[in-house]
């Protein structure tokens, strides 16, 4: 019997959730609501992809939403004071990369554990943003910039979802088709063996944190443009959600495994659930409870099928 992979199970769950919601939630399939979800998904999806790549190496990035906020705030300041748009975006991306390289440097060269490093940089970046903005939000962008998060391509597809799709494909290609990608997985499963295989671990790690920061910057562009403002807590609620979605998507929290498609399924599940439950008028705190329950259910299911399969293999060999 051919058994289903983690990702296929998740795909079926996704499909099930979508079908369920379109049956029970009024107005779920309305065009307006579908657009609504397509606009809500990209920023969260991008942050989750960034988080996933880092988790594959066995790390975690608690500073990711603050990297996004810092780069968003810098972009917002420049854009609202009339700096040439592409230049402002470029500077924003560079700021995020600088943050990423700080994380990467401390994790890879000094060797402090990622959870501690990024906890520290999270507070650091938050402080930097606060001292720049004094806590106020920065707004007032030209209409052209607002199109990034709110515009449609050819009047049909939201631009932001295309950007998300492009980066999802890019991430999949980088992870699966390049030497770096394979090294990321190797490093995640066994750093010592990877080092002795002649891989420059710290260089691989550095690039991982840079890539995470790049995705955070793209998410920041979409968020600032969509919300027409940037602030210290921009997207801060995505922080733990992105860890949860990455893990729900099948990424091993100890590292070594994780697929883009699984992550996308997980992001869609989160999106469809929160939107559907909102349409049903379920209390917000109950929505969080249901999300938590589903997360635990799927993780248990994954764990159970995993051990079951292992046992079968052992039995088969004997």
């Amino acid at each position: 019997m051919k058994s289903l992979s983690k990702e296929s199970i998740l795909g079926l769950v996704t499909l099930g959730v979508i079908i369920l919601m379109s049956m029970i939630a009024p107005g779920f399939l309305d065009l307006g609501n579908i657009y609504n979800m397509m606009f809500q998904l990209p920023e969260f999806g991008l942050l989750t992809l960034g988080m996933m790549v880092i988790i594959i190496t066995g790390g975690i990035d608690l500073s990711i939403t603050y990297v996004a906020a810092l780069s968003g705030v810098i972009m917002a300041i420049m854009i609202s004071s009339g700096v040439f748009l592409p230049f402002a975006i470029l500077v924003g991306v560079l700021v995020a990369l600088a943050c990423g390289s700080l994380n990467g440097f401390i994790v890879s060269k000094i060797g402090v554990s990622p959870i501690l490093v990024t906890l520290g940089t999270m507070v650091l970046f938050e402080g930097v943003i606060l001292s720049i903005t004094k806590g106020t939000s920065i707004s007032g962008f030209p209409a052209a910039y607002n199109l990034i998060g709110n515009g449609y391509i050819g009047g049909v597809v939201p631009l932001s979802i295309i950007i998300f799709a492009a980066f999802a494909i890019l991430t999949a290609v980088l992870l699966n088709k390049t030497e770096w990608g394979r090294q990321v997985y190797m490093l995640g499963s066994n750093p010592v063996a990877t080092l002795f295989s002649g891989v420059n671990n710290s260089r691989v790690l550095m690039k991982v944190y840079l890539y995470g920061a790049l995705l955070a910057a793209v998410a920041a562009i979409i968020m600032t443009s969509r919300y027409n403002s940037a602030k210290v807590d921009l997207g801060s609620s995505y922080l733990l959600q992105s860890v949860a979605a990455a893990v729900l998507g099948g990424t091993e929290i100890q590292g070594g495994y994780g697929k883009v498609i699984g992550t996308i399924y997980a992001v869609i599940i989160f999106q469809v659930l929160s939107n559907g439950l909102n349409l049903l008028g379920v209390d917000s705190s109950l929505v969080t409870v249901i999300m938590g329950a589903i997360l635990i259910f799927v993780l248990t299911l994954n764990f159970a099928t995993h051990t079951f399969r292992n046992k079968k293999q052992v039995a088969g060999q004997a």
Partner: protein, 346 residues
């Protein structure tokens, strides 16, 4: 590593090319609007009230008021907010409410600027838009419900502090919920103005101290403040958790008679501190009334009724309406002291 680099550049170029044909309208937006207007004509009005976040006593009390108003006035009230005070989450809640095709959305913004696009979208869909508790973008909302006149309220807090210190001079400290909260800043401005104009002997030992809307942080910061300025005689604390944290610190240090604490807190939370004098007086509007007033005015708005200065609102009394015909002020605050704090259930 060369191949992915080219791929990256290629995708960037593709994005730039596609960007040329981006517009802010989707082809189908015109016909979906038609549908929205048809439905809901003969049904009950649906009024959505969006707080900054759910699950804190203040917004639970206003929820109760909003729901009571719904029952009394025969409208359906949806009270829904983010579980974290994050602007992004709040925008999502509003977007989902637009999909639900409600008649009025009344929102208490976490970050006013971030709501402007989504509120505009709501208006395009024919939904009435108003704010409550904290003002949103003036240009977008049709009605703005304020619990209080911000400046007067700030001045009132200073008066209370002076009254409780028993003298018009001395060193005082000031705690706030967050540096960016517009309403807190407006109150602080009022409080400082009053101190400057009426009580020049009052000296703020340090600039406002942020407490992240957390009692624990307010407690820590107050301990530091007392340690750094032993001659401190008064503390004014803005945002509902801050006075509690400050009072907790004063209580622990046994300095109830040395330091007067006044602030903006809910009566049930404050009661233990009011009882032993660590908190001298708390002052706030009644959030359940604010929820009630919001729903009442939302109904007026949806039915196209005029709102005028001095109009009588059931359960609330007379409200003040400013000349812009948009801003409604609920009335003066209520002071909660040792004697009356037990009479309230929020």
């Amino acid at each position: 590593m060369k191949k992915p680099f080219y791929l990256f550049v290629a995708s960037l170029v593709a994005i730039l090319v596609l960007a040329g044909c981006v517009s802010d309208q989707n082809v189908s937006s015109s016909d979906s609007e038609g549908e929205n207007n048809e439905s809901g004509e003969d049904e009950k009005l649906t009024i959505a009230v969006v707080p900054k976040l759910v699950g804190i006593p203040y917004f639970n009390a206003s929820e109760q008021g909003a729901i009571d108003a719904g029952e009394e006035l025969g409208v359906e009230v949806i009270y829904k907010g983010p579980t974290e005070a994050d602007a992004a989450q709040q925008v999502k809640v509003i977007e989902d409410l637009i999909s639900q095709d409600v008649d009025v959305i009344a929102v208490a913004p976490n970050d006013p600027a971030s709501l402007t696009p989504v509120l505009k979208k709501a208006k395009e869909e024919g939904i009435h838009v108003m704010d409550w508790d904290t003002p949103a973008d003036k240009e977008v909302v049709e009605l703005s419900v304020h619990q209080i006149d911000d400046e007067q309220y700030g001045r009132h807090v200073t008066d209370l502090l002076v009254e409780n210190m028993g003298k018009e001079e001395g060193k005082i400290g000031l705690l706030t919920g967050g540096l960016s909260a517009a309403n807190l800043n407006a109150w602080i401005e009022g409080a400082k103005m009053q101190a400057k104009e009426e009580y020049p002997g009052l000296e703020f030992v340090i600039d406002k101290i942020a407490t992240d809307e957390k009692q624990q942080v307010a407690y820590q910061k107050t301990l530091n403040l007392i340690k750094s300025y032993p001659e401190l005689e008064g503390i004014m604390a803005f945002s509902t958790p801050a006075p509690l944290g400050a009072a907790q610190a004063v209580q622990e240090q046994g300095m109830q008679d040395d330091i007067s604490v006044v602030g903006t807190a809910l009566p049930t939370d404050s009661k233990p501190f009011l009882d032993d004098g660590s908190l001298d007086v708390a002052t706030l509007w009644e959030p359940d009334k604010l929820g009630f007033l919001t729903v009442y005015l939302a109904k007026q708005l949806a039915e196209g009724n005029e709102i005028e200065d001095g109009m009588e609102v059931p359960n609330i009394g007379e409200v003040e309406v400013w000349d812009d015909n948009k801003t409604v002020i609920m009335g003066p605050p209520t002071d909660f002291t040792k004697e009356n704090a037990g009479d309230y259930d929020f």
